[in-house]
C-alpha cells in the first residue's frame, strides 16, 4: 500500500532563517506531488505541484521554492523566511490530476 511521510511535524524558525521541508511517498511510481498551505479556518492553497522529476509548477509567487530531486521526494524550501510564511504545510500525492489526493500529516510552521 502507498504511504506518504512528511517531516518535521512542527517547526519554529526565526524570521530570515532558511527552510527545508521534506516529503516522501512509498508504494507508487511517478506520482503527482503537491505542496499546500492551510491558514487557520481557510481552505488549502496550492503552492507547487510536480508531475515528474525536475518538473515544478508554481501557483503562487512568493519566497518559497520546491524541488523534486527523486521520483518520490518533494522538498519545499526558502532562503529567508517571512512572518507571513507561518502556517500548516501539507504534502500530497495522486496518481493523476483527476484522482484523489492523499495527504501527509502536515508541518506546523511558526515564524518568530
Amino acid at each position: 500500500s502507498q504511504t506518504i511521510h512528511q517531516w518535521p511535524a512542527t517547526l519554529v524558525q526565526p524570521v530570515g532563517s532558511p527552510l527545508s521541508l521534506e516529503c516522501t511517498v512509498e508504494g507508487t511510481s511517478n506520482p503527482n506531488l503537491y505542496w499546500y498551505r492551510q491558514a487557520a479556518g481557510r481552505g488549502l492553497q496550492l503552492l507547487f505541484y510536480s508531475v515528474g522529476i525536475g518538473q515544478i509548477s508554481s501557483e503562487v509567487p512568493q519566497n518559497l521554492s520546491a524541488s523534486r530531486p527523486q521520483d518520490r521526494q518533494f522538498i519545499l524550501s526558502s532562503k529567508k523566511l517571512l512572518l507571513s510564511d507561518s502556517g500548516f504545510y501539507l504534502c500530497a500525492w495522486s496518481v493523476r490530476s483527476d484522482q484523489p489526493q492523499h495527504f501527509g500529516d502536515g508541518t506546523r510552521l511558526s515564524i518568530l
Binding site: G43, L44, S97
Partner: protein, 108 residues
C-alpha cells in the same frame, strides 16, 4: 473564476440528528468532485470521488451526491466521532480547488 464554496462554515448537531453539508462550485471543465475529512492537526483524509451529475457514494453514515452545480454530504444519525472539518474539492485540469470547509461538531 473557478470557485468552490462550502456552507455552512460551522454546524453543531446533537448525536443522531441528521443533516447535510453543501459544496457549490462554479468551475469550467470539472474533472471530479472530492470530499475529505480533516481532524485537527492532521492532513485531510479522502472520503469520496464523484465524477458525474446524479452519482452517489456511501460510506457508513455518510452519503455524497452530485448535481451540475453542487454536491451534498449527507450525515445520517451522526455520532461524536464524526466531529471534524469536511472539505470538498473540485479537480480542474491539473489543479484541485478546495473549499474552506465545514466544521462539524456532534454533541453526545
Amino acid at each position: 473564476e473557478d470557485q468552490v464554496t462550502q456552507s455552512p462554515e460551522a454546524l453543531r448537531l446533537q448525536e443522531g440528528e441528521s443533516s447535510s453539508l453543501n459544496c457549490s462550485y462554479t468551475v469550467s471543465g470539472l474533472r471530479g468532485l472530492f470530499w475529505y475529512r480533516q481532524d485537527p492537526g492532521k492532513g485531510p483524509e479522502f472520503l469520496f470521488t464523484l465524477y458525474s451529475a446524479g452519482e452517489e457514494k456511501e460510506k457508513e453514515r455518510l452519503k455524497a451526491t452530485l448535481t451540475k452545480k453542487e454536491s451534498f454530504l449527507h450525515i445520517t444519525a451522526p455520532k461524536p466521532e464524526d466531529s471534524a472539518t469536511y472539505l470538498c474539492a473540485a479537480a480542474i485540469n491539473n489543479d484541485m480547488r478546495f473549499g474552506a470547509g465545514t466544521r462539524l461538531t456532534v454533541k453526545p
